[in-house]
Amino acid sequence: MLTVQQLSKTIDRQQVLEDIDFTVDSGEIIALVGRNGAGKTTLLRTMVGIIRPDKGDVRYGPSSIFEKAELKRDVIFVPDSADALKHYTINEAAALYESIYPSFNRSIFRETLTRYNIDNKKIRQLSKGQKAMVTLSLAFAVQAKYYLLDEPTDGLDVVAKSDVLKLMIAQVEARNCSIIVSSHQLHELERIADRIIMIEKGRVKAIMSLEEARETSVKLQVVFNDQVPVELLERKDIEIINVTGRVALFMAKERTKELDTFVDAHDPMLVEEIPMSLEDIFRVQLGGEASVF
């Protein structure tokens, strides 16, 4: 298990990370979501030991990454651009990885490249999508336990994006590794993430499982025979979106039996469950302040 404990970092007198706390289990895909400048990249770089935090720790199992350098072989950070490798050919890059990581498996790497029809060229000659596939394939061929991917889908077309996501899914399924992947667009990751960590101004704003939220939260449109009952409007466990005549539209963070009984008792003509958008889920989970999107 990976544990991030009270991680804080100030760069140029600006607090970039503030008391970040979370854990990641093996086989989990975590989406790290936040606006540009929220601190996503700094967090990932700190988690892999590139940046030293002012306070806090990052532990992989029982050991801290800042104390035990060998851990870095099992934690791979993939930056958002392949710039560092651009003068290498693909084979040279593979040789470099092989010299750094003893567990690098060349045949796995070759296999992935063949599947996506990528020939041995200089990395700067590749398309953006191909670059992304090469850097990810290099990283995955190491067969590490933890992967920290910085915006791997940024700027890619739909097909390349889907290839990248599929590569990630196959890795997690095949080897039960964990992936923490950042993006400023939640929509790209909502399908594949077990949990979402929202980060804003260097702080964790919310950690949630979308699947769980979808199971517990509800958005209801209720048409009453008579007026919308005042007792409904006064309930603390729901958020009223609007009331038009005899129709009330509201969301509840948790759909309780009591709520259903309450609605039923007020003689509704129609109770309809309305699909919740991502924005709805965030709004109801965070309590009316999801201004992030």
């Binding site: 599929k166 997690v172 077990d194 979808r214």
Partner: protein
């Protein structure tokens, strides 16, 4: 593609897979003894989290609809009967349908005939698939 994942639906993803698998079996598109996609295949195909697919498969196994055979894959059970099929959502859907029919000026007799036709269509397919056992 047999599955359609709707991110906008209120239904959790794993439930969508569970329900759609049930529907595929009831409609005879998946038949008893058929091999279904592995967790990885379905997850990469749909581009969704493999844990979500696992959860759905576990639920389907619990319901007796799927059987996992180590090393061979996952198969549709030979003797699955939809016992705990939830009636509540069906009654709910019928309620809504009744209202829609009213608005569309569809008389009760016509609505019943339409329903009967559809019901029989599904029944035929279902009967076909069970007859081949």
């Amino acid at each position: 593609m047999l599955y359609k994942i709707d991110m906008k639906s209120a239904e959790p993803l794993y439930e969508q897979i569970v329900n759609q698998t049930k529907a595929l079996v009831i409609r005879g598109i998946l038949r008893p003894g058929d091999k279904v996609m592995s967790v990885r295949e379905l997850a990469t195909d749909l581009v969704i989290n493999p844990n979500t697919v696992s959860k759905a498969y576990q639920e389907l196994e619990r319901l007796g609809l799927l059987e996992m055979h180590r090393g061979r894959g996952t198969f549709v059970s030979e003797d699955w009967i939809d016992q705990d099929s939830p009636r509540a959502p069906i009654l709910e859907a019928i309620k809504k349908l009744a209202i829609d029919c009213h608005y569309a000026n569809i008389e009760l007799t016509e609505a019943l005939t339409l329903f009967e036709t559809e019901y029989k269509k599904v029944g035929e397919n279902h009967a076909d698939s069970t007859a081949t056992e």
